[in-house]
């Protein structure tokens, strides 16, 4: 930044892989970072994956070390359960109001032993597990979440509904449960802002033809990721709702592409990864991938595709796909390139839905005073220049919040935004 009296501190919104990388890099440059994260944990969507394409590296092994580094970094002020409510000022001198919700668990005293979970009388669907398992009202989203400190979900905790329950407090040996914690309103002064709020997936219920939400064994990509995850609801066992092992699986690409009007760029690759997941656990399984155009750009992806094809995965170019039931059997109907109609019965269907902006993107755009593009992603200032530069000076947009992309490109953008902030030419 220039010689003017700019505030050197930076606000990073979103503690997914892009936000974490950006924060760590800024800290390395001796910048103080306020990292605001909406949920109770770090790692974003990446921690939902068991493995990442195309070298099938364990996702946790990849991201846990940098999550740990983040928690121990003294230049980084991690604010979980926090949301940005107001932003005023301009490049070099922003004033940011943050609402930090109470966790009701003391971050210093708690050691993450999980003793408070069992006695909690409340049980409900775990959102992190896409509703495939249950959690308590005091909980961490999954084993290995970082920081490994539970939160109390006050909407469901019976104490916060007026009952006299103190079960979790009694179970805690470290006096870490504090029902008197209050939400805090913080005011932060920063010079620049990086927006790394990630993405959401297209809700397949909008397209009844795929049977999602209607039939038991139709899964979204994220649901299937959790089904395969060793720390997930089935500890990585791929099972149908009736407890049986699937013998045939269809993976449907491009779900919602027509509706969204763009190619989400990662679905072909992660769908191929799913075939790898399935063949690893269930070598005999019959897999059919239904795609329109195979989009596997980049130097290392085709090799992965060829490897998957060798494992006897049927790659079917198809249109007019429909999932229905014939008697008790689930069937997939489709039209292949030649115009012929086909029908196959399938035990399990996995949908690869389009990537779309996260639900609160438009609200945040308003708060920050930056533009959205026609698809609802944060809009870059110009297609000709750096894609991390938003319509407002000093605010940078990175990762899937700017547009669908893979981990490599998200991280590149995160570091590029840091480059922009540290660069003397900005």
């Amino acid at each position: 930044m220039t010689e003017k009296k700019h505030n050197a501190d930076v606000l990073v919104i979103g503690a997914g892989i892009a936000g974490i990388e950006a924060s760590l890099m800024l800290s390395k440059a001796d910048r103080r970072v306020h990292l605001v994260e909406k949920t109770s944990y770090t790692g974003g969507t990446t921690i939902k994956f068991e493995e990442v394409f195309s070298n099938m590296e364990c996702s946790t092994c990849m991201i846990a070390p940098i999550q740990q580094e983040l928690l121990q970094d003294k230049n980084i002020n991690l604010l979980t359960l926090a949301e940005v409510e107001e932003v005023k000022g301009s490049f070099g001198d922003f004033t940011v109001k943050v609402n930090k919700k109470a966790r009701y668990v003391d971050m210093v005293n708690c050691i993450g032993c999980n003793a408070c979970f069992d006695p909690c009388p409340v049980s409900l669907k775990n959102e992190f597990e896409e509703g495939l398992s249950e959690r308590k009202a005091i909980y961490v989203p999954c084993a290995g979440a970082l920081p490994n400190i539970p939160m109390i979900d006050t909407e469901n905790c019976i104490r916060f509904k007026g009952k006299k329950c103190t079960a979790c407090q009694e179970a805690c040996m470290f006096e870490a449960i504090d029902y008197n914690q209050k939400d805090e309103k913080l005011e932060l002064k920063v010079g620049a802002i990086i927006v790394a709020t990630g993405f959401n997936i297209f809700d397949s219920k909008n397209l009844p033809k795929y049977g999602y939400g209607k039939f038991d064994d139709v899964y979204s990509a994220l649901e299937f990721e959790r089904l395969y995850a060793s720390n997930g609801p089935t500890e990585g066992n791929i099972v149908l709702k009736n407890g049986k092992t699937p013998k045939s699986v269809a993976i449907v690409h491009c779900v919602g592409r027509d509706e969204k009007g763009y190619c989400s760029s990662v679905c072909c690759m992660y769908s191929l990864k799913f075939s790898h997941y399935l063949k690893t656990k269930l070598p005999e399984i019959k897999i059919s991938e239904f795609y329109t155009d195979l989009c596997i750009p980049g130097k290392s992806h085709q090799k992965f595709y060829e490897k998957i094809k060798e494992t006897n995965v049927d790659m079917i170019r198809a249109s007019e796909i429909e999932v229905t039931k014939q008697g008790k059997e689930m069937v997939i109907k489709y039209n292949n390139g030649s115009g012929k109609k086909h029908t196959h019965s399938m035990d399990m269907i996995i949908l690869a839905p389009a990537i779309q902006p996260s639900d609160d993107a438009s609200k945040l755009a308003k708060t920050l005073g930056i533009d959205l593009d026609e698809y609802g992603f944060f809009q870059e200032k110009s297609l000709e220049d750096s894609s991390v530069v938003s319509s407002k000076p000093g605010i940078f947009i990175v990762g899937c919040a700017q547009g669908p992309k893979n981990i490599q490109d998200s991280v590149s953008q995160a570091i590029a935004a840091v480059g922009k902030i540290l660069s003397p030419s900005e």
Partner: protein, 561 residues
């Protein structure tokens, strides 16, 4: 000085104490020779616990410390800090992980207690042989060498240069701008590319902190992060070779096209009016698209995926620029019939499909093929293809444009060798980590951007250049010293037999060979302490600090005793 080892056992509330009988552990450990003190504490990582530990070290005059608690991942740093505060070297600490590796996974309390005793004994056995390690600091040079004066190198230079930092921009041709100067428009916004690149070139030229060398090549690079010595092939006015020092290097050597002559079925070089995508860009930029005979083509085929099978990867940008070519053609020759032959349409990202749809609306035929070739038909060309159902078809056109795969620039291998980094199997520069470290290499201080790292469009290239700048700006700060890794390898001069095995297994280029003494020598600044050389050394000459043979041996011996 007499050795005084203190052992502190954390109860971790009930987490360890419920499964491990800590009093039994204390009994078993106390009798060990040179143990000054064994104590338990409720929660050592708490503020009170750390204070207690610090006071104990001072009060007992301890020389070595064993903490039996949780995983080193959780609190090794915490307890190392305690050591520093208590004025003992933090490497004289050993952690025994009796929570994750014992209390949490061992059902039977007796078993867990026995196991904890073994683990603590092992830690004691090890810590006896620990030596203090001291952090080093070395001066660093904040200046940067950028190799390649295309848009990637230019962007990186602009992001890096300021009064505290010089950038040396080396371009092997006579002018800056690289490949994109041949393009009329960028496919994203269909705006003139010269608006962007010309301004950037001007900015680089006007920046007093960027020293540009055109018609220049790097001859030699020696040194390491913070301290590279660079020698160019070029000479100054007095005839002396040009040399300078930098702290980091950015490789932006760009890409080139797969030569369609390598695939005979396209007839390239044999038949007139078959041109490559780059030749077409150049022709289009002159403002006139014409056949060999000077007339404008009435029909043009644009063939995607040329060389894809040979290269073994999708080049990511060809579909989009092929659609751009259709637009060029329709803009300049409105009546021209354009047919794009593609196999899979690869148009990833939020803006691309719209561009595709707009192009289709301009009456461009999109034909999917499973195989394609070109033959001569009088003055015209036959595009012979199989459609997606395997039916043989043919289309007569005046001109064919081959959208060739991209590959690393021809001198990439030479550059990789000079700077000492590796290439992947496709000859692109290899990144330190494909996902989370895409612009770094295994050699610290050397960064890879743009087409040199992999096929990509201008937008992604700019991002990588800015990312490399970010990496450098955050780690190479003027006036700040560099702290190299302390747990590094050491090769004993007297044991080394000069076989050079270690040099071949070192991923970081940290080992050189002393020809005079005929032994391998570790550069401690470059070494990251991975241990490859130690494992590979046939004579036992290589060892790694803090993981010496005896330290590990004593630890294991106690664990299995």
């Amino acid at each position: 000085m007499e050795r005084k080892i203190g052992v502190y056992i954390c109860e971790c509330g009930p987490n360890i104490s419920e499964k491990v009988d800590i009093d039994k552990v204390i009994d078993a450990i106390s009798s060990i020779e040179d143990i000054s003190v064994v104590e338990k504490y409720k929660l050592l990582c708490s503020a009170d616990g750390k204070k207690f530990l610090e006071e104990q070290i001072k009060k007992q005059g301890l020389t070595h410390l064993v903490v039996a608690a949780c995983s080193p991942k959780e609190h090794e740093k915490t307890f190392m800090e305690v050591c520093e505060n208590a004025d003992i070297n933090p490497y004289l600490l050993q952690l025994a992980n009796i929570r994750e590796q014992c209390a949490w996974i061992t059902e039977d309390k007796d078993e867990a207690t026995k196991k904890a005793i073994r683990m603590i004994r092992a830690a004691i056995g090890r810590v006896r042989y620990h030596s203090p390690l001291d952090k080093k600091e070395i001066e660093s040079n904040p200046d940067v060498l950028v190799i390649g004066g295309g848009i990637a190198g230019i962007e990186a230079s602009l992001q890096l240069a300021n009064t505290d930092r010089k950038v040396y921009l080396i371009e092997k041709t006579s002018s800056l701008g690289g490949l994109v100067t041949n393009f009329e428009k960028n496919f994203l916004g269909m705006k003139p590319i010269s608006d962007t690149i010309d301004k950037k070139i001007q900015d680089v030229k006007n920046n007093k902190n960027i020293k540009i060398f055109t018609d220049a090549e790097v001859e030699e690079v020696i040194g390491f992060f913070g301290n590279f010595e660079i020698k160019l092939k070029n000479s100054d006015e007095e005839g002396d070779p040009i040399g300078f020092n930098v702290g980091a290097i950015v490789l932006a050597t760009g890409l080139t096209l797969f030569d369609p002559k390598n695939s005979l079925k396209y007839g390239y070089g044999e038949i007139d009016n078959i041109i490559t995508s780059l030749e077409f860009e150049k022709m289009n930029k002159t403002g006139k698209i014409s056949l060999k005979n000077g007339k404008p083509p009435k029909s043009v085929a644009i063939i995607h995926c040329v060389g894809r099978d040979e290269k073994g990867y999708c080049s990511e940008i060809c579909c989009m620029y092929s659609l751009k070519f259709a637009r060029y053609l329709k803009d300049k020759i409105p009546q021209v019939k354009v047919s794009n032959f593609y196999s899979d349409l690869c148009i990833p990202g939020k803006t691309h499909q719209k561009f595709y749809e707009q192009t289709k609306e301009k009456n461009v035929d999109l034909i999917r093929f499973t195989d394609v070739g070109i033959t001569k038909n009088k003055d015209q060309l036959n595009i012979n293809y199989k459609d997606e159902n395997g039916n043989k078809k043919s289309l007569l056109v005046d001109m064919a444009i081959l959208s060739s795969a991209v590959e690393p620039a021809t001198d990439a291998s030479k550059v990789a060798e000079i700077v000492g980094i590796s290439q992947d199997e496709k000859s692109f520069f290899a990144e330190a980590h494909e996902k989370i470290n895409p612009v770094s290499t295994s050699t610290e201080g050397i960064y890879i951007v743009g087409g040199a790292q992999g096929p990509k469009d201008i937008s992604s290239t700019l991002i990588q250049s800015e990312a490399a700048a970010g990496k450098i700006l955050s780690s190479l700060v003027p006036g700040r010293k560099i702290e190299p890794e302390v747990k590094v390898s050491h090769i004993s001069e007297s044991f080394c037999i000069g076989c050079k095995t270690c040099i071949s297994v070192c991923s970081y280029g940290a080992i050189t060979f002393d020809e005079a003494k005929k032994v391998s020598v570790v550069n401690e600044v470059i070494c990251r302490g991975c241990g490859n050389c130690v494992a590979a050394c046939p004579s036992g000459a290589a060892s790694i600090k803090h993981f010496k043979f005896n330290q590990i041996y004593q630890e294991l011996k106690e664990a299995v005793k």
